[in-house]
């Protein structure tokens, strides 16, 4: 009998079949409820924004990788996922040229300039969002007012900041905030849709629970202190949790893998600090919402937070 040829290699001899592509597919599926709610409230404008964002992100990724002479990595879908989450952070009236500038920044300054996915120190989506927020202030506040559905064309946090706590009940109930019957960035308005997507991500273990939970604890903690000290002027923790971008930031933005810590204690600290800084910006800052900006600031601490190692077995 002839001995068969055998392959020899190191352990393990099997693989679970997980891949970046699968994780990104799950990530995009998790954003579908929020995208659906935005289309329901804001109409076809939201679809256009989402489509331009996703398509342009993939196109830029293709062009930039070709120009840089890198192997094409479009098929891992990180470009498409970045485009989708970026669309969630844009107003429903965002012009096409602004979206294209944003996605160009995501791919070039957020990812490829550092050597591709995994080597980026910051979340590219946040870099792009901040550039647009600072460069095109007017376009980034292009809210849609839906007659009959909405009572105001301002976002809940703008009302809180510029009109005061007492005007909020005139326009919104807690249920409105929860379902998303307010204006704002297209993906951030519906807390319930984001919660469904976020739980899906945790169940499929694309993200772990540490960052979203500690993010929300951070928000509730600081807003609770403000509220207890001054209930006449400060909104309660539930309002702060549901209004603005806390749910979107906690589940989909802060959990960006390369720019967030990897260890359990690191992730808890990171999330909690994000929550605190969000509330600091809302309370004392010039911007009405600090959810996204806080994530960008705290992600600078990631290399430091990664030093907090879990206690090894037998140590």
């Amino acid at each position: 009998m002839k001995t068969p040829e055998l392959v020899v290699s190191t352990i393990p001899h099997v693989h679970g079949g997980n891949s970046v592509q699968k994780m990104m597919i799950n990530f995009m599926i998790a954003l579908l409820p929020a995208a659906g709610m935005s289309v329901y409230f804001f109409g076809p404008g939201a679809i256009v924004v989402i489509a331009i964002s996703v398509v342009s992100a993939v196109a830029w990724e293709f062009i930039i990788q070709k120009v840089m002479g890198r192997p094409l990595a479009i098929s891992n879908l990180t470009g498409a996922a970045s485009g989708l989450v970026f669309a969630m952070m844009l107003p429903p009236t965002a012009p096409w040229w602004m979206i294209c500038i944003g996605t160009f920044i995501i791919i070039l300054l957020g990812k490829e300039v550092y050597g591709g996915l995994g080597n980026n120190p910051f979340n590219g989506v946040l870099i792009a969002w901040l550039v647009l927020q600072m460069s095109f202030r007017g376009e980034m506040a292009g809210w849609i007012y839906v007659a009959g559905e909405f009572l105001t064309e301002s976002t809940p946090l703008e009302i809180l900041k510029f009109e005061g706590l007492e005007s909020i009940p005139e326009y919104f109930t807690i249920a409105d905030l929860f379902i998303g019957r307010t204006t704002g960035f297209i993906g951030e308005v519906s807390a319930i849709a984001l919660l469904i997507g976020g739980v899906f991500l945790i169940v499929r273990r694309v993200i772990s629970w540490h960052i979203p939970v500690s993010f929300m604890i951070g928000v509730v903690f600081l807003s609770g202190i403000f509220w207890l000290m001054n209930p006449e002027e400060c909104a309660d923790p539930i309002f702060h949790l549901l209004a603005g971008g806390v749910f979107l930031a906690a589940f989909f933005v802060a959990t960006d893998m390369p720019s967030s810590p990897t260890t359990p204690i690191g992730m808890l600290t990171y999330g909690f600090l994000c929550g605190l800084v969000t509330m600091v910006i809302r309370q004392w800052g010039a911007w009405d919402d600090g959810a996204f900006y806080s994530v960008f600031l705290i992600s600078m601490l990631t290399p430091l937070l990664d030093k907090i190692k879990p206690k090894a077995y037998g140590r």
Partner: protein, 445 residues
């Protein structure tokens, strides 16, 4: 003398349901392959066997036979002289046809080996072993039949020196795809219980625990009725529960200090097969000439449990089980997560063989290694609570001092991190590489 209180089966079943269930953080549930039998098939003895003179951790025995000597089943062909070797016996009757000075060892390097051509009579050697229990164990060549096979008499000596007070019997199969240990526990519960008694008497231990996978219910019920002195602990079916570090963690809740052995915290871990062979060595004066293993994979829809004579070439076992290695496949000694891929199916079954897993060409996993995206899955899964991506990255970059600072020696090479990695980094490979480089640096100093 006290008899255990009589309990009817229903009551006993309740007791099993209330059984203490242990586990450890991290790890993977890999599921298991269905087994086709509840007992062992005996693989018929072959024409020629090759018996390595080192089938354990330690040094090789001196050959006790010459070329053209006649041997019978159970004749000593390599005699144990000290604490770091175990006797080796002929497993067929026939003539010694060759004594190899250098035969490839599964764990790397070479070992002397003896080739015996069988006369297919299988005559038994009638020489009777004499001596105390521990001498009988040494003469019968009993080793701890687990991933690292330590000669049992030296293990017992070490345990006495370290005044061990707890014995853990490992009834968990080396990997989830195997079922030989669970079947052994339900089929040979009486002999295993007798072996456990002998070992615990030799060690003078006060508490004995038997760890069995929770869902192996027939194993649990037969061993708990056969062995009244030991506490049977059900364990969650998770890889790598069979490793001693995690058995100690799951059963006793203690941790072995890094780089240490269970004896450091007063615990000895032996496998269930070891107890069986101890009972045979002491009560029946029989040497270890066979092994109970599982053969899985390679197109078998159900795994097979077989009883194989030591020295049988692996290809005969595979032929018997009807396994084909299609194309350029992989034959793995041990399971798919922690086993060693071998280069030739002419290699013999030894006391160190824990099972055989076969992969066809299209089932082989490849690890082309992408860029780490810091998803944290490996940290989440690591049963030793390490940061696998960091240690493997440091080893890859040649930063061995930093890798040591990040507990590279705490890794027990279970393979979980590479299994879950979305960018297919061969982390275990880099960690093993780093460890061997550190060893080489130390030995050159």
């Amino acid at each position: 003398m006290q008899f255990p209180e009589y309990k009817d089966p229903v009551e006993r079943k309740g007791e099993i349901n209330n059984m203490k269930v242990g586990t450890f953080p991290g790890g993977l549930n890999l599921g298991s392959i269905a087994s086709d039998t509840s007992t062992f098939h005996e693989v018929p003895s072959s024409g020629t066997v090759i018996i390595p003179l080192k089938q354990y951790s330690g040094k090789a025995c001196e050959p006790a036979v010459k070329k053209k000597d006649e041997v019978k089943v159970g004749s000593i062909i390599g005699e144990s002289t000290g604490n770091d070797d175990a006797s080796v016996h002929a497993t067929v009757s026939g003539v010694v046809t060759n004594i190899f000075k250098k035969y490839p060892d599964m764990k790397g390097g070479t070992v002397p080996a003896i080739e015996i051509e069988s006369d297919s009579k299988n005559e038994l050697d009638v020489t009777v072993f004499e001596g105390t229990d521990i001498e009988l164990i040494q003469k019968a060549g009993v080793v701890d039949l687990d991933i690292d096979a330590v000669p049992l008499h030296s293990k017992i000596a070490l345990a006495k020196e370290k005044s061990v007070n707890t014995l853990i019997v490992n009834g968990v199969d080396v990997e989830s795809q195997f079922s030989s240990r669970a079947v052994l526990l339900s089929e040979y519960a009486g002999e295993i219980a007798a072996g456990i008694d002998i070992i615990s008497k030799l060690l003078g231990v006060t508490s004995v625990h038997i760890g069995v996978i929770e869902k192996a219910s027939s194993a649990i019920s037969s061993i708990s009725s056969a062995c009244s002195t030991a506490q049977v602990v059900g364990l969650k079916d998770k890889h790598p529960q069979s490793l001693r570090e995690l058995l100690v963690k799951a059963i006793l809740g203690k941790e072995i200090p890094q780089g240490g052995i269970p004896e450091d915290i007063g615990v000895t871990v032996i496998s269930a097969e070891t107890a069986l062979f101890v009972a045979r060595a002491v009560n029946d004066k029989k040497p270890v000439i066979e092994r109970f293993i599982t053969v899985a994979g390679g197109g078998l829809s159900k795994s097979k449990n077989v009883l194989v004579r030591i020295g049988t070439p692996i290809k005969e076992v595979l032929d018997y089980c009807g396994v084909s290695v299609g194309g350029a496949g992989k034959v793995i000694i041990g399971g798919p997560m922690m086993g060693t891929a071998i280069h030739s199916t002419d290699m013999p079954i030894t006391k160190e063989t824990t099972g055989i897993f076969v992969q066809n060409e299209n089932e082989i996993a490849e690890f082309p290694s992408g860029v780490c995206i810091k998803c944290g899955l490996c940290i989440d899964i690591c049963p030793m609570k390490l940061m696998p991506f960091l240690i493997s990255g440091l080893s890859e970059a040649g930063k061995y001092a930093m890798a040591e600072k990040n507990d590279i020696h705490g890794c027990n090479e279970c393979g979980c991190c590479s299994y879950v990695c979305p960018v297919l980094i061969p982390m275990v490979h880099w960690i093993k590489f780093g460890k061997s480089e550190i060893r080489a640096q130390r030995s050159s100093e």
